[in-house]
Amino acid sequence: MSTPERTDAHGQPSFLVDHGPRRGLLAWLTSTDHKRVGILYLASMISFFIVGMGIGVVMRLVQLTPFKDLVTPQTYNALFTLHGVIMIFLFVIPGLPAVFGNFFLPILIGAKDVAFPRLNLASWYFYMAGAILAVTALFTGGGPPDTGWTFYAPFSIKTGTNVSLAVFAAFVLGFSSMLTGINFITTIHRLRAPGMTWFRMPLFCWATYSTAWIQILATPILAITLVLVILERFFGIGIFDPSKGGDPLLYQHLFWIYSHPAVYIMILPAMGAITEILPTFAKRTIFGYKAIAFSSLSIAAVGSLVWAHHMFTSGMSGVALITFSLLTMIVAVPSAIKVFNWTATLYKGSIDFQPPLLYALTFIFLFCIGGLTGVMQGALAINVHIHDTYFIVGHFHYVMFGGTGFAFFAALLYWFPKMFGKMYSKRVAYLAWWPLFIGFNGLYFAMLVLGLQGMPRRYWHHLPQFDTGHVIATVGSWFLALGLLIFLGNFVVALFKGEKAEDNPWGGVTLEWQIPSPPPTENFEEIPTITHGPYEFGEPGKEGRA
């Protein structure tokens, strides 16, 4: 990082300047400042993301031809397991809450920090410990796990690979996620500035709040399930082992009771970030504030009751099938409410087209494809046809990467100038969009088609009739990787050579734009008193907030 401005206009030092007794890296590793913790997460998550992306590119290379070369089947199993574990547990689940939640949640509600700053830093250490354990699992014991990220029993309790350590890594990462959830709920309940009522909170806070509830209500179920897998492997307790009276189906239920709500842990904060970006660039208040706030809560609630739609082919009663199918369709309603409110916000706004808006709109487009293919899978008959095919892989990449990933990028474009006080090249951000968008759709739309044609997921090689689709997908992955490198490189260049960013480069009206870029350590010279809603633009005499 180049030398940040030591002080802002009011003589307050920026949080990027060390002011404790320690200097440099050590000061960062021991800082409980929520902004620094957020940047620690950002740096580590982007690193893991690049590793996961590299693995993804290699998998696509394997599928470029129908020949059985390049890697062994065992290696391929390890590759998709790792890609899943890294991307899901190390990138999308901590995702936006860990980076932007940490950095901006306290600022958006007018607080100086989260409720438990030390616990917050500890969460990052849990996260890193989990990441290190996951990496250790690759090189020790029986080699990298080959179960897929779902660790399905009974295979996960029988395979000789290093599942125990990988599962323990996921357990530790879960701890980090849970503690962050506890911290954010307490922060929102206790630290809102005077006058910051629940319905004056920016909607990103509502999204983070709903997410935090899922984090604390769902994650412990995963924790106990993973503990059971470890106990099965070491002591043979038999709960998932049919030869001892246990039931592997119980594993699937317990796993998805967490892992489906986890999908909403991944997407809700992304929706929250989009909801912050759109009003700023449409220069008008959000359409349907309460509808968006309550749709976050109802997604969290209904989303916790749909898990068994991952198991339609696993064997369940007809009543259970129909119930879960219905609930799955219902959860699409609050998501659609959000999409309609976003588009209605743009309607008759005075649109200021900037890179964050472009990426936010891309999010809406890709999320719609991801969401609607999800509703398709909720239909029982179609589900049987496309179960465990590339259709599923294409669908969740549209939601997780096209949704959460692009929202993460949009949020980074939106908030980067505030976080680091530097402006990136807008031209390069636009330039990167082309390979990203073309590559993304080439890769994952091809997967949707391949899946409908019958290409099963997780297969090491494919039959010649699937060749065309695989070639398109692989070429798409090259464009996508290129776009990602340009996109991320833009920020690295900006850190060192970027122009100084203004305090309010986008003309936003939420609290973070009323303080200097980068923010001072204390965030606010004086805790603000809030007198009106979060997105009030252009009312005479009310430019910005008091």
């Binding site: 800082s31 409980t32 400042d33 607080a111 100086k112 920090d113 409720a115 438990f116 700053p117 030390r118 616990l119 849970m178 959830g181 506890i182 911290n183 709920i185 307490t186 309940h189 206790r190 630290l191 005077p194 604390i216 209500l217 769902a218 994650t219 412990p220 179920i221 924790a223 106990i224 399930t225 503990v227 059971l228 106990l231 002591f235 043979g236 307790i237 038999g238 709960i239 001892k244 009276g245 246990g246 039931d247 119980l250 239920h253 317990l254 009771i257 350590t521 204390e522 805790i527």
Partner: protein
């Protein structure tokens, strides 16, 4: 858990205007949320138990008769008493009686340890009879009984682990009281530690009927 990194930050929260940011209510809220996660953690096992019991009602009934209900009840009484001493230590600190606080905390720790000693005798007896996970003897029993003992060792084991964690927390609190860091005006940590201890107690109250009284 609580405590701001910015001792100079004066106004934070709604009612606190002290020289140092301190939010006892916030700390307690955080603790309650943590307890929620603990309940859900055990909840996963309770789901497993309910499912298996519905699947094998007869076997669960029979296997439950292998457990020693007397020891189970004695352990319940021990834990209930320990919750009482925990509350008494909190009452003592609120009245500013430090010696009494430490005395009752020590009593709670001793009772927790007694519970674990009892438990270890019980487990040892089961092992002695060849009843332990993956044992040759267990493999000869009907599937439902194998699952019963799998759940029994997992759930009481996890609970025992929580008792152990609770004892460590209590020992830490004891040290804080001794050092004068927990006082009449500042006892949120003791209260939160107590909440945790009560939770461990409450979970046992559910384990007792599910296993020992299943017969």
């Amino acid at each position: 858990m609580s405590g701001s990194s910015y001792p100079e930050a004066s106004v934070q929260g709604h009612s606190e205007h002290g020289a140092e940011h301190r939010d006892d209510f916030g700390a307690k809220l955080g603790m309650w949320l943590f307890l929620v996660t603990e309940i859900v953690l055990f909840g996963g096992l309770f789901i497993g138990y309910s499912y298996m019991r519905a699947k094998y009602p007869g076997e669960f009934h029979h296997a439950g008769s292998e457990l020693n209900a007397t020891i189970g009840v004695i352990n319940t009484l021990i834990l209930l008493t320990s919750s009482l001493t925990m509350v008494l230590s909190l009452v003592a600190i609120q009245r500013g009686e430090r010696t009494k606080t430490r005395l009752f905390l020590a009593a709670t720790i001793v009772l927790g340890a007694a519970f674990l000693v009892n438990k270890s005798f019980e487990w040892a007896a089961k092992f002695h009879h060849g009843l332990y996970p993956n044992s040759p003897h267990l493999a000869t029993l009907p599937p439902g009984e194998q699952v019963f003992f799998g759940l029994y060792f997992t759930m009481t084991g996890l609970h025992g682990f929580h008792v152990l964690a609770g004892i460590s927390v209590l020992a830490w609190l004891y040290a804080l009281v001794s050092k004068g860091r927990i006082t009449q005006d500042r006892h949120a940590a003791l209260e939160n530690g107590g909440l945790y201890w009560h939770l461990v107690d409450v979970i046992w109250i559910f384990l007792l009927p599910l296993f020992y009284l299943a017969a």
